[in-house]
Symmetry: C2
């Protein structure tokens, strides 16, 4: 197991054991573990819980660093905040940490709905919750947020999908497919049977470059906004920020997550009728878009928001584009806090 996914770098986190866990597609994960971290104290009435699932290539740690804190909207002094790691992200059960024969390339593909079902067991069985005050998430976390609100409409009081979609568009599917291919086309990937994750570094580096080419705005590059974060050149930024982010990660983990992203679709249980699926949502929902998001264009996010009954569209500009989610744009951080605080104040 890679040190990258250790308590040292991503902890402290705890683990919830779900035993053998059947998936939507008929496969089964043996001994499923969900890794999570909590902040704040659950009220005696259990009416202050917030759930925040992780995103692609991220863990609960980046959510903690970028969104949680005294004086922030997600204030542990007021709320009991559960940061949960998606299946496959390296902290929860994943290709790289599952014992043979179900490891690596044999780890089963899964759907967003499987994660949400597992998370439902976490919050009900472990914490005895009957309602979540808010479910929120960015990017792939927005997919999980939508799925929560559709799958458990009475459980989710408020929802904030940020910079993500309930159903992946054909364009986004294609884009994510090119990310996957950047990794799997590396001969060292060997169909997922590499001996050392690090030997796939060329594929991971290519993936990182394609990722930031779409994830940041053209204006970010034009204005050399990477200078604000102390990088010496664009190449220095790409290596130190983008390649460095993906290099220590397990290629099978990333491919599994990206496949889940590509295939995300809340309408699967509604015969593919998106309007019908989104109409089930009872949560007060703020659909939050980043203005020039190269992954999830504003018009696609707005089109889904129009189908969510009790919702509002909130738009945040950021030169960081999609990657504003990482929390390096203080303007974005202030804006997202204001929006989340407004949502949490809704009775």
């Amino acid at each position: 197991m890679s040190d990258y996914y250790s308590q040292e770098f991503h902890g402290p986190y705890e683990t919830f054991e779900l035993g053998d866990f059947p998936l939507e597609n008929g496969a089964r994960i043996r001994g499923l573990k969900l890794a999570y971290a909590t902040f704040g104290t659950l009220s005696p009435e259990k009416d202050n819980a917030i759930l925040f699932p992780s995103w692609y290539s991220g863990t609960s740690k980046i959510l903690e660093q970028a969104y949680i804190g005294a004086g922030r909207a997600l204030d542990p002094g007021k709320y009991f905040i559960i940061l949960v790691n998606q299946i496959g992200n390296g902290l929860s059960s994943s290709p790289h940490n599952t014992p043979p024969p179900f490891n690596a390339a044999r780890f089963p593909a899964l759907a967003v709905a499987d994660d949400v079902r597992a998370q439902y067991r976490l919050v009900t069985e472990k914490f005895g919750l009957e309602q979540l005050q808010l479910v929120l998430g960015g990017s792939m976390g927005a997919q999980q947020t939508y799925q929560w609100a559709v799958q458990y409409p009475n459980f989710v009081r408020r929802a904030a999908p940020i910079a993500g979609l309930a159903r992946t568009t054909p364009h986004n599917r294609l884009l994510v497919s090119t990310f996957i291919e950047a990794i799997t086309s590396d001969p060292a990937f060997d169909g997922g049977w590499y001996e050392r994750a690090q030997s796939v570094h060329r594929g991971l580096r290519r993936h990182a470059r394609a990722f930031v080419a779409a994830g940041l705005t053209p204006a970010f590059f034009n204005q050399e906004a990477w200078r604000d974060s102390g990088f010496s050149s664009l190449e220095d930024f790409i290596i130190a920020f983008a390649e460095n982010h993906f290099l220590p990660q397990d290629p099978n983990n990333l491919v599994l997550l990206a496949s889940k992203w590509r295939d995300a679709d809340v309408s699967r249980a509604s015969q593919g009728v998106l309007a019908e699926a989104l109409a089930r949502i009872k949560a007060k929902t703020f659909v939050i878009a980043i203005q020039d998001d190269g992954f999830f264009p504003l018009e696609d996010i707005a089109a889904e928001q129009a189908l969510v009954p009790n919702s509002e569209l909130k738009i945040i500009p950021s030169i960081w584009g999609h990657l504003a989610l990482f929390g390096l744009d203080q303007g974005f951080n202030k804006a997202i806090d204001a929006i989340l605080a407004e949502l949490l104040a809704v009775a």
Copy 2:
């Protein structure tokens, strides 16, 4: 030599021999050949000539099919139109058709300014021109158009750079680099020393997918606009339209062209001062942008247009995005004709 680049598929075209041709970077192309096709008749006063250089992965044939015709703005009944093939595009001197030892991976890198200098010799030595009524081009052809107007300001009476930039932005450089890597990372590419171009088909297919992911608008995919062109599914479209376009091409040719694209910069002769370079332009210039161009964002095109003295910005919407240049959107074709006709009518 591949049949793809033959007279059968891309002719009729003629060839202009330039002998040994020194490049800006100190290298030299031995026995440079420029392939070109002409339409219409040069007037006795030689005052009706138009030059239209090719773009990335295209030849004079697609320009002919998409832009030339009776009743079109580029009407051979009125104008003498020269479609010239960029060096490296497979019809003019290129890695794949140059004899050893200067072939394949040893074909020298070159700059847009080298093409323009060679084309200047074509139009002056072969046709005895002293002025061009119009230079126009799309994408990499826009790079050549800008370079023409900067390098030979008295020679170019009107200019129409379409969906392209005078200087490649950092974001565009990164994007084009990922296209190059999609090809060069294929083990079959072998540093450019493959025996058969077709053995690099995996890299070419990857390149094709990354290319259309950025080249078409998200709306194109959402609305399944590929149906209008008779494709049965998105995958059918990607294979039949995108992969089919690149598969028969020579990988070294594409890498050479893409490198020229990546490094394009009209300001090289002005100590990198873009405003100074563009201020040299004397042509009446219509800078034409495609509304949602995933390669060349409108704001980047507008920023350059603001630096061109006698210019106007024209914006054409198309669901095809950058690839509207291919001529499959009749609305785009009508719009571009109207704009070019207006420009040609300027005294």
